[in-house]
């Protein structure tokens, strides 16, 4: 079992997300994370899914996804040269001046931004790969994390290559 990253180009139509998510659940595949947003092509969205499975299972998911009419392109970019990022917002207890200073130091090391400071909490914004965010989370747990919000992973191929639709004939 390995985490696979699928980049899925879809027609921007009502219900397309539930078609994709529903397919994963009814065929018994777990989604680790999911991110959706508009993309460079008009009337299209890109969905990035991280799912666990062996290569054969993921191949079957890809084929089943391709059968959905609103899906234009499915690429498994796991083994291709890519960069991947997640974003997290973390609200941490910062009751004392000492802990506040320490948290700000940690933030600097992780190149996280402090985006809100309250009398008893600070909110950090951090982007990076999963491991980096996990590491930051682990350090901050010591101070007490009040709330953690993480996006799904998004990824893009390096260099000239892109995940694009084939032009209709």
């Amino acid at each position: 079992m390995k985490a696979h990253m699928l980049s899925i180009l879809v027609e921007n139509r009502a219900g397309v997300l539930s078609r994709v998510a529903g397919l994963f659940s009814r065929r018994g595949f777990n989604i680790e994370s999911l991110a959706v947003g508009v993309c460079e092509e008009p009337n299209m969205s890109r969905i990035t899914v991280v799912a666990y499975g062996d290569d054969a299972q993921i191949e079957q998911v890809k084929k089943q996804l391709n059968k959905l009419i609103d899906i234009v392109k499915v690429s498994d970019i796991t083994y291709r040269d890519h960069v991947a990022r997640e974003l997290a917002l973390i609200k941490v207890n910062a009751e004392t001046g000492a802990s506040r200073a320490e948290i700000m130091q940690i933030a600097t090391i992780f190149r996280a931004k402090i985006i809100d400071v309250g009398t008893r909490t600070v909110v950090l914004e951090v982007t990076g790969d999963s491991e980096k965010i996990d590491a930051l989370e682990k350090l901050l747990r010591h101070y007490g994390i009040k709330e953690l919000v993480r996006t799904g992973r998004i990824a893009i191929l390096r260099g000239l290559k892109t995940v694009k639709s084939q032009k209709p004939e």
């Binding site: 219900g15 539930s18 529903g22 191949e59 079957q60 084929k63 059968k67 009419i69 209709p168 004939e169």
Partner: protein, 558 residues
């Protein structure tokens, strides 16, 4: 100025629709008002489930798209089983449902159900149309999607206001549908076809394993030609019956759980398998590891997701069965006949024929054989699900594709009778028989109302054992004869038929079988035959679930 309903009916007519099976209700009133003076015929069924099965039967018998119509909420929900049936067997059906007005969507309005959400996993595609302007295009797309690639059901959900809205200049449907996300592959990859031919030519013990895809793509002729030219024995799935005439010397009949012994032996020993339009379903393969264990497998299917799903293929060929088989035919002439293999198969056929205990009492297998004989293997045979289905599949001598309609994938009891109604309208000149069980028949028995209403000459042969026979058989074999809730009390089906004004006959002995069948065949209208068969007759041979297919119960000693 046109209303949405107006555009809908015009669009259906443009797709060549001449008949709709349906059931009216509040949200489809505008559509029914259009149908009132339309040239498209509407058959009023007695249940929405029957409407979708009838559309399915129409599609399977004709090869054209079947259409059904139901109202919102309960009407739409009653279609679900039939849509799933069509989805599992890849049948081109367009289901049209009414919906509450767009302004009320999502409000739990009266007779509202999220039918596009509900049918997401069982449709090839579905639409909730919110603008009458889009309607013509959606109908065109729906028919295109249903009938191309791997066929399947498409649902169109139409809110009431979309049907009543006036459209000034409706957007016409495009002549050619072009969908970026849907471009089915018809032509097989040339190099893969070469590899397939090479393996085939090297094979000593080859076999063809043919399924519903052969019927759907109209490839029966090509299949028989390849079989004859290269001397390849053919076994078919339940869905593939009729792709080769039953009495063809190369035909091995059905394989799998209730397949012939010789088909299952041949599959187990073959060294090459040409799998065409099949999906290696568990009812066919039994234990996957021991299915065709020595074979190089060439798998031809129009759906890439079926290739390698259950069984890895040595040569995958994505493409339409007819197109690919033609390409193969164009490149092969003859093959040195692997005669020891054919001789071995002939010996199996001789020593392990299908058989039943033809002693006293009324045996269902005998009834099917007599029907097959009387109709000379012609006509359209529709089945319900269970023992009746397997006996019909084993003992009817099918000669043509689209002659055998049965719910294979989903196994829907109650499918047969309404599907037979649809089949009649697809091919009105054919004799249409529904081979039923007393359990299955009672699942859509209300359709007696429909056949009486329109005087539809569908003949229902009930193999009545007062049991849910197949479940009882499993209880006998695997649950120590504990017949838990499988016994049904006797029902006088003849009287029920009479109450609808339909002719019927009860048959209790062997001598009465032929005259009774003949009476049904000769009848002007519908006819119900209530055959009181041996109650504990079993379907044999049988491969227990999860066993290897050459390990059969009820076969001969090898």
């Amino acid at each position: 100025m046109k209303t949405g309903a107006n555009i809908l009916i015009e669009s259906l007519a443009r797709e060549g629709v001449d008949i709709i099976f349906g059931y009216p209700g509040g949200s489809v009133l505008p559509i029914y008002d259009e149908l009132y003076d339309s040239s498209i015929r509407h058959i009023l069924m007695r249940h929405e489930q029957a409407a979708i099965h009838a559309a399915d039967g129409y599609a399977r018998a004709s090869g054209r798209v079947g259409v059904c119509l139901a109202t919102s909420g309960p009407g739409a929900c009653n279609l679900v089983t039939g849509i799933a049936t069509a989805y599992m067997d890849s049948v081109p059906v367009v289901a049209i449902t009414g919906q509450v007005p767009t302004s009320m969507l999502g409000n739990d309005a009266f007779q509202e159900s999220d039918i596009t959400g509900i049918t997401l996993p069982v449709t090839k595609h579905n639409y909730l149309v919110k603008d009458a302007n889009e309607l013509a295009g959606v109908v065109r797309e729906a028919f295109y999607i249903a009938k191309t690639g791997r066929n399947g059901p498409v649902l169109i959900d139409l809110p009431k206001d979309v049907n009543t809205d006036l459209v000034k200049n409706p957007v016409p449907a495009p002549d050619i549908v072009s969908l970026r996300g849907y471009q089915p592959t018809y032509r097989g990859h040339a190099r893969q076809i070469e590899r397939a031919i090479q393996l085939l030519m090297e094979a000593e013990r080859p076999i063809i394993y043919a399924g519903g895809g052969v019927i759907a793509s109209g490839a029966s002729q090509e299949l028989v030609e390849i079989a004859e030219r290269l001397l390849l024995p053919v076994t078919s799935t339940l869905m593939g019956l009729g792709c080769i005439p039953c009495d063809h010397p190369l035909n091995l009949g059905m394989l799998g759980m209730h397949g012939t012994e010789y088909a299952n032996f041949a599959v187990t020993e073959c060294d090459f398998m040409l799998a065409v339009g099949v999906r290696f379903d568990d009812r066919v393969t039994g234990k996957l590891e021991t299915f065709a264990p020595h074979a190089k497998i060439v798998h031809i299917d129009i759906d890439p997701a079926e290739i390698g799903k259950n069984k890895p293929a040595d040569v995958p060929i994505v493409g339409d069965a007819k197109t690919v088989l033609r390409d193969i035919l164009a490149r092969v002439s003859t093959r040195d006949a692997a005669s020891p293999w054919l001789q071995k198969i002939d010996a199996w056929k001789k020593n392990h024929p299908l058989r039943y205990n033809d002693g006293d009492g009324l045996h269902p297998q005998f009834i099917i054989q007599q029907l097959s004989d009387l109709l000379a293997g012609e006509g359209i045979i529709v089945s319900e699900v269970g023992q009746n289905q397997m006996w019909a599949a084993q003992y009817y001598c099918f000669r043509h594709p689209r002659q055998w309609l049965s719910s294979g994938g989903l196994g829907t009891m109650g499918y047969g009778f309404p599907a037979a109604i649809g089949a009649h309208f697809a091919r009105p000149d054919e004799q249409v028989f529904d081979i039923a069980g007393d359990g299955s028949f009672q699942m859509n028995i209300q359709e007696l109302g429909t056949v009486a209403h329109y005087n539809i000459p569908v003949r229902i042969a009930i193999l009545n054992n007062m049991y849910l026979g197949m479940v009882r058989q499993w209880q006998e074999l695997f649950y120590d004869r504990r017949y838990s809730y499988t016994e049904l009390p006797s029902v006088d089906f003849v009287k029920i038929a009479q109450a609808y004004g339909i002719e019927g006959m009860r048959v209790e002995s062997r001598d009465e079988v032929r005259p009774a069948l003949q009476a049904a065949i000769d009848a002007e209208g519908p006819f119900v035959l209530d055959f009181r068969i041996e109650r504990e007759e079993n379907v044999f041979p049988m491969v227990p679930a999860g066993a290897a297919i050459n390990e059969m119960i009820g076969g001969h000693q090898q």
